[in-house]
Symmetry: D2
């Protein structure tokens, strides 16, 4: 940590900072510059966030952290990248993992249709939402536990592991009974009660980035799960909120190579939420693969024009098959398989 | 709802839209323009979000909603504004409501010191966090239930109602036993499991705006609580996330007069989180009052340089007393009292 | 244009709107809904922005435009996409156009080294900045006219057309004497004096998106040039400003397929500015190609560690050659050539 | 400047950094930490931005600047704040400066009506746009030089100095003949050609913040003018671009107290552009004054419903008089006068 003093800080003010830093167990190096003095603090910064209080000290201009705040998520821990197994599907290896299925689970027929279609096109996992976080209390909120059963059955019939969202910490056990992977949605990316409980679960977690989550905060959210003991975390970029209104969100593909530098966790991309428009899903899925994503999550619905939620961004089965073909070609170009 | 067709939409495409709209129980008015046709749909739009699927129809360019999506939060319901009583303190009337106290509850001595200081300076309610949503799992997470007891006792001793945050739906009952008002933090602004349960509670709720929550989404979050039957909701602007890094958040005071037009719910402002810097709290508190806020939430700590969280934005008691004096003068200038 | 009246608008207020709309030469269709009335206006909206004043009328809630504000940039004008020729290099066809070279022109040796390197690796155009828009007045501002001569000579020697930025409307003629294509930088994306004069020039223009320019505003900036008579405009996505600070900008690749739907103009991508970090340039260049970009602009410097501006985002020649190889493979996967 | 090395940087990599830093004339202090080494560089950082190239060195993680990049704008230069005289009106003193008038100059009658109205209500300066930066080339672009004459005459008749925007560097002289103060608009906030020429002018400048300009970049834009020799610069906050669409811009009032800490330059606020809606102008004007602004710029039009640009945000004369009364009361509450 570097403490930058104000231009006219007095020697007494500087000493007060040095003393406080030493009390916290750090070594303090005072460096006297032309215009100002800085105090460089040597020691383990993490868990010492009370040192941010130094900003409050008289004569202090700013406090600059030097270390990244996450440990278990850091790339250094597994320089070759970690791989997460979900019911036999490996995420993070050379082969891309494609998860596909409807936004919301609506009926047995819809789930069966979706499951057969995505399996036939080559998807590796089946998705579907039983608990739906909807902006409006008057919107369809999901089939809840009945939906979980439909999802589980549809996945089993076609032989695909299933992933679904959990919103309430107290639903975790029940969801985990039926799903192979639990998803944390963008609106819960900093729901720390939920994250902490998922850290105690023995199931892989798909953690979506929040709409306004910076990448270091995203890794701190993963760190909540990892520090609880659950090491099977997969990150998912799904678009951030910006001033641009032409698309529902701004898909931040820069995040892929940055996360690959910072963390060993696998990173997949959801171009359906990242764009909000069916016509944009294929080009952005290809872009994600070219940028180095370890997989994709794609919304596919047998009849998107009848969907109970997010119809405009769901692909028909034929379009999804087209997507898989194109993804295969781009994957090969970057030395991956599908 | 207005459905805008593409420039070269065929008559058959237009008819398909008209038919779908009528099936949903709307009247459809077709208006043929110079370049394109629009279909105006007359009827109750809320709860019919499946009509967003029209965007998926062939020949459709875009779908523009006409009605606001909230009902119970709408200004029309109580054109004079609603007032919320919290343990005898009225929020939303001519008198401003000032809530003050430390970011986190740390000890009995700290809470007593804070309570006496804010009471002496004229605050109307005591705040303090027992459950702390922290970005890092390695940071102080709050004193939890022990903290609730300290808060309740400190409030009772000085005769101030207390407000504190709840993060987990399953803590609601226990928190409600000790607090006069429950706060939903910015990170849970779209935690719908939490909001839905608070709709069933017989206690007033302080709902903070999320870091990237648009104002209409903010009112939809309130609508979750209101539609559950709990009508005592107070909104709190606390800063949004933007590109500007000079301050922790960008306090969006435009939100006050906009919300006053759109909703009957009282609106208060938290300049401590809205700026993240102690030196900015007083000017922004005054600005909030001048813009028409119904109250303020201010972080006050007896020894901010020893605080376990968010020290740099907490005021010392003497500065808080100064703030109250200045707020009083500005409040009078805009015909409010403190 | 759709005028939405307030819930309690009076018949007189509605009539006043209808009258104003008719005065402006539109037909007005009044549609009486359950909660509110809307007035649909049929006619040519563009150039009638005074109708935005209707928002000021008593009883009016909002005014929703129906038509896109641009004409000459609209896809409908050239449904197959337009192609721009720059000194024999076609942009917008099946073959990608790659422009490469240093951020700033620094010396004859640097330009020759860069020109030979990018030519050898397969680039189609040479870039280099003679006038540099720098945030600080104390930073290197470019070699100006001397730089233009070096750029022109280096391009001629290796047989590549050259592109360079123009910042001041009154430099246009001099820059046009030496460059094959003139670039408008992100900070001048809404410098309408500059755009208007470029509309009168007989040279192709590379128009970069501004840091906070929405896509429809981007096309309106192009429309300034097109409406002056210059139809040779190429758009360049180069990253937008968001809350994320892990990268210098957030490269918005969603913009590519959106622009391809909205406009016939070619679209290229600048991953050097879009990321600000050399290590991210290759993955994001590949992503841009996979998403459908018509070309790339890449910063290449013979000695980036000695560069006078933006060193951290410039590639060494060997890395650029690696990029070209990878781009070629991804281009083939999406049926393009390089 | 602080250079943070990567966790596994080799001694040779560290030495290379130290050497480069010393070559640039800095002292280098090497601090060996638990996980990583940092190199603290002592010396004048400004104008040495080539040291950002250190990020490119092998083994370097990041480079953190310590000094603010501006000098002449820095508060330290004039700790009591500077005052700018515009035709006898002082900006930056105890008395607020209110500039008012129409968005665009449209006719002699309109300008006279506006001038008399704003003078009668107590404004200190007259504003009006002769050159209008419009998003669409098809919109009214201003009366240009004819408009300047109307503005000058209207100001002279009522005895108010006038301020107007200049967009093209080559119009500066002509505009300066007729105006007492020249305004740089938000879209030109980083038009460095324009800023540099204004640095040579002997007239006060009103510099508006750009839509996505960070506060330190805003001060660097001012530094361009100051470093040219023109010390009479007034800053104007006018709203930034964020995800919120309820208002045209997000007025960032946090900027006022931050700028007051960082710079000696006076700061005024434009709530008309900052909100885009007439009904929000008064509350936000009051908020700006309460937050410490040195003045206001308000759009006033005799007949806003007939305005040729930005009608919805312009006040009628009667509303402006109401604003002035309310501003006077809030100003007194914060010990300012009007």
């Amino acid at each position: 940590m570097i403490v930058v003093m104000k231009a006219h800080a007095t020697p007494a003010e500087i000493e007060a900072v040095v003393e406080r830093v030493q009390q916290a167990g750090f070594q303090a190096h005072k460096i006297v510059g032309v215009e100002r003095t800085v105090v460089a603090c040597v020691g383990e910064e993490r868990g010492k966030e009370e040192l941010a209080q130094l900003e409050f000290f008289s004569g202090v201009d700013s406090v600059l952290p030097v270390l990244k705040p996450y440990k278990l998520a850091a790339r250094e821990l597994h320089p070759d990248g970690s791989r997460v197994d979900v019911g036999g599907v490996e995420i993070g290896g050379k082969r891309l993992a494609v998860m596909a299925g409807p936004c919301a689970i609506e009926s047995a027929a819809q789930m069966q249709g979706a499951a057969q279609a995505v399996k036939a096109a080559g998807a590796h996992m089946l998705r579907g939402g039983a608990f739906k976080p909807r902006t409006s209390p008057y919107s369809f909120q999901g089939m809840e536990h009945e939906g979980l059963l439909l999802l589980e059955r549809a996945g089993r019939e076609v032989g695909l592991p299933v992933v679904t969202e959990v919103m309430d910490p107290h639903d975790i056990e029940r969801v985990a009974e039926h799903a192979d992977m639990l998803q944390v949605g963008a609106r819960n990316a900093q729901n720390f009660s939920l994250l902490r409980r998922l850290g105690k679960l023995n199931k892989p977690i798909l953690l979506k980035r929040g709409m306004s989550t910076k990448l270091d905060e995203f890794l701190m959210a993963a760190e909540y799960i990892l520090s609880g003991g659950n090491t099977r975390v997969v990150l998912c970029e799904r678009g951030i909120r910006t001033f641009e209104t032409a698309t529902r969100n701004t898909l931040d593909l820069n995040a892929i190579p940055v996360l690959k530098q910072w963390t060993h966790l696998p990173v997949i991309v959801d171009p359906s939420h990242g764009t909000g428009a069916e016509a944009l899903v294929i080009p952005m899925a290809l872009a994600a693969v070219a940028a180095g994503a370890d997989g994709l999550m794609i919304e596919v619905h047998p009849n998107p024009e009848k969907a109970l939620s997010d119809g405009p961004q769901q692909l028909r089965p034929a379009r999804f098959a087209e997507l898989m073909g194109a993804v295969r070609r781009v994957a090969e170009a970057v030395e991956r398989t599908v």
